[in-house]
Symmetry: D2
Subunit: 350 residues, 4 copies
């Protein structure tokens, strides 16, 4: 059994780690922390009757594996503390996601207090960095939009099929992405029947996308990214437009993706077939079909007439875009099959 601790488990990201780890067959939750302690079910009503208590942070002893869902500055110092005490650490936040210090400091608007530690961190997309993650003591779990867009664009960039400087990504996010802290953009009377653009240029996640896609492509890439909030609870849909350097068909594109992700348990290439008049599903991913799960669904189409490919990446911002991919990374770090504790399908209807 892996003994696991979760730092900051009252929010949505830590709460999702907690929920999924409670059902993980190889994990024993040693503790989950909250500033003021208290019953878990008073923060997470889904855990009604679980009988468990949060511990205050000072009672959070080093264990085999520590998940951190904390503000950035706290993550940096606590990652060091647990790392030095022998714990392996997965940061569900943003403290260690970028490989260049100057970029990180400019994007986050603060100095980084432990760059030596940041240099140890492995970026936690298991489809791209499995070997590194297996050996890592510190994993930087990716941003939710980053996972969706990187998984959706990786095969095209790795194959060199599209113009790397003109990647245009619209990201639509559910309100779980806002987090548990109250805000006007997530106040139901405002967002319940609305669509809300935010941080529309230079969003922090666009730097992760550029970092990872450039590494795959071997040269600099430009990701033009715009995020929008929509009134769904969970889920991210990345709508990725790219421009082929030479024409290819939809079928060739799907084949490229199927090969790139062959053997990957959590990426599914969608090519749905309508089943008559009532079951007229279209052949592209639905966000709801990934909701609550660790799956990423990818689909694409090609506009021959105008020379564009559009790729959709759908996932749950707390699932494959958050806490669950963190658990997939933990599985890798401890030599378990990646699916352990994670193989649940989303619900239908969601």
């Amino acid at each position: 059994m892996i003994h696991v601790g979760i730092l900051g488990a009252t929010g949505y990201m830590g709460g999702e780690a907690l929920r999924v780890l409670l059902g993980h067959p190889e994990v024993e939750i040693a503790w989950a922390s909250a500033r003021h302690g208290g019953r878990m079910e008073d923060y997470h009503p889904n855990l009604q009757g679980c009988g468990l208590q949060f511990v205050p942070p000072e009672a959070a002893e080093p264990v085999d594996m520590v998940f951190m869902a904390l503000p950035t500055a706290a993550s940096i110092s606590l990652a060091r503390r647990y790392r030095d005490a022998g714990s392996r650490v997965i940061d569900l936040g943003a403290a260690f996601r970028l490989a260049h210090r100057a970029t990180w400091e400019s994007v986050y608007g603060m100095g980084h207090d432990d760059w030596a530690l940041a240099e140890e961190a492995v970026y936690g997309i298991p489809e791209l960095h499995a070997a590194g993650i297996e050996a890592a003591n510190l994993v930087a779990n990716p941003g939710c939009f980053s996972s969706a867009a990187i998984l959706a664009l990786a095969p095209l960039l790795a194959a060199g099929w599209v113009d790397p400087r003109q990647l245009v990504v619209t990201g639509i996010s559910g309100t779980a992405g806002v987090g548990a802290t109250l805000s006007r953009a997530a106040h139901h009377p405002e967002i319940g029947n609305n669509l809300v653009p935010y941080n529309v240029v230079d969003h922090r996640h666009s730097h992760e996308m550029e970092q990872e896609l450039a590494a795959l492509h071997g040269s600099r890439v430009g990701v033009h990214f715009t995020p929008i909030y929509a009134p769904i609870t969970r889920g991210i849909l990345a709508i990725c437009h790219a421009f082929p350097l030479a024409p290819f068909t939809r079928e060739a594109g799907l084949e490229l993706y199927r090969e790139f992700y062959a053997g990957q348990p959590f990426v599914k290439i969608v090519d749905a077939q309508p089943r008559g008049e009532e079951w007229d599903y279209r052949p592209w991913p639905w966000v709801a079909a990934t909701s609550g799960s660790n799956y990423c669904h990818i689909g694409l189409s090609v506009d021959d007439r105008r020379g564009r490919v559009v790729v959709f990446g759908a996932l749950d911002s707390l699932g494959k875009g958050g806490a669950q991919v963190g658990i997939e990374n933990m599985n890798l770090m401890f030599g378990l099959p990646r699916e352990t504790g994670l193989g649940h399908y989303a619900r239908h209807p969601a």
Copy 2:
């Protein structure tokens, strides 16, 4: 391993049985049927990449356990067929829910073609009929509103604390309760920002409530039931008003419920405590906290001033109010712990 078949697995109820049974450790799905066959993922987009096919109904051979999610008339004849071939059967529909033939025929507006079989059926609320279910060859799974209201009112009726003739129940249902068949009341432009009363008197489920609560109380009861659709995907909230014969306090009421449901794994008595200004949860159930799970959350308050108790029963119409309680019943029928394959908490946020 239990070999299981699902008749009618393209709809939401059969689809939920399929999804949960795919993760059940003691079950092998022998087949799931659909009129025109086809890939499961073309009906249930959450199953993307599962590689499974529906079989046409004629290929649905008798197996250990058959779940039926079919129109009423079809259920009656097929239940007989599988029963006679040695399968045990759980009907997720309404063909066998009422114990009195004349009532059934009046409520469903049709003759019942196999009342001898109906007399064998056990009504599938495990908190009330566990022994009967263990021995049953045919279980009639309860209606979704019925489960919510019966579980919410059972302790008060069994204890004789309230007037049995004045039970007033408002039931709010998500649109999964409408089913997969398209209808105006579930067309998003109409329901997306709306509340819609329907079948507001003599709803079929009110007869189930009266049957079960009368049996607990030992005399006739009157359930005044009104259902409303609300724009949530899953979930049922039964708001049950009853009138105490003698005053009791909220704490006494909660204690009555805790004792009545002691040892029951899937009924949770809610008494949430606010955790400061931002985490100002109120001490009553949230539908979302049960969504996708087999839990029923119950909470109550007493209005001293006016002599009323209000009890809330929250569950998922496809979970504890549908396919998942069916699987709980199957566990009982095959001597498994009731939690097998079912112990997942709902998500938070939903």
Copy 3:
């Protein structure tokens, strides 16, 4: 032209008054106040480009008509100030809604600093108190749930057709009812797919219902009221159960309501007829059909079998349940036709 001021116009109630009065042909908005002043469009994005500014409260001079959308204590002292300066006042809040001081002070948990003023106030339901409102200097606009339940039950109580002690009301509210102040129950990730009971016994509005229905009936009445939040933006549905003293038919009930509300421009008795398979509307009110308007839709059914009548009252908590009925009251006070500036139908779809 009536010169109108709005105190507290950044919230939803004051904002709705502002929006509707901007289109009122007999009104000139003298000012609308906000603590920190500023452009109206920075609080109300629907007013984009209107070019108008809030004034700070100290610049809010007495005018013909003052609407107040303020915290209770502030309402009491400011109502006095404007009243003494010759303004007529409509309080959109709760400071003057109850006729008995002891009840008010117990319900609101505070002393009332100007009960002499409270005794001048007329309760602002124009269908019941038109003459009083015409002559009033101070109108107490009703609570949103109160308007829905009182309008839905008034004809039955006035006619003496039902047991006055057993009125059971479930009220479902959209999140606009929470107000503009951020709260967990209105945080989209929590409420977006949820149903949330709150203040489930002795809600303040139940005292208004009892006060008004008792006056109509001529004896004490008991209203058993439970409110629930649902994920719609606007709208209130009051589901009112009552028990006939002697049987009557649905048609007789509808006729009673049509007569009671004959000549009332904003109460509509619903008896929708389905128009074939696709347009299968049911004969009861839809909340969405009143949303944004000053209409209240009422419908009913009778359960012969069990002796119950259920009456639905649907309205918009900011419309007929809030700011718009306030404007209807203003029209009465200034001798204008009640429909002036208010006759817009809700949208379809909403």
Copy 4:
């Protein structure tokens, strides 16, 4: 008074024309047609109690002005009939939107039976074609996405500030855009917590965008357009990415837009200012702020680092993107101020 008829008034587009025209001070509705006649309130529950009846199509006599909300083939023949009888006609559908016959026939997959009539039609964007609309006998009302994207991009193309071949537009639509006909993609259990791509390449509206933007720019343009359904009832958000030929600032961009749309009553350039911690609105358009109205809200930002401008166009698909802009066009055709009957702000909250 203008005597107006509406052909096909049971759907959402015709119903919106009907609702708004009922409040238009210079219009008398001569008739609104429905295949089977019947009470208006049985199709449009918002019109409860209006007392009006639909007429069958054969009773729809020529009048001053005819709005058509019909299937494409029917529009072509009926437009001719009413035109020849002296009526002026606004087609709310797609029969006359494209200027090149071969393109129209390829896009709509059918022959056009009356191209001579199509050549008379004026494309109904009043900000671009006011003079033509004033004189027109036949106006082709634009597609909903087309209006949003064309208004959002017009100033940049007219000014020649961006690369005309790389316009990348993501369009998010509410489900009113699906129409009143039932479909799986609009079934609430499916879409209620979902995001659904559809017609992702070569959507019909992209041809309108290219036609109008090319005319403004003076050379061919390429619009790469992807539509997505989101669970809002009304509203379109066009997220338009373009690539500056020479750098410009956000302020310069806003100024370009303010000048281009100076004097236009229904286009508002958004530059919201947050008002403290709770009122933290961001400076871009909200769909909800246009919902139900004839306003289009436009906002933009510039990503200096990567050389991109993103422009947002928000409107209501039945309002400025549908029936209401049709009424604005009618006002122009009959010499009325464009705002007549249309100047209502959207609600807040929506």
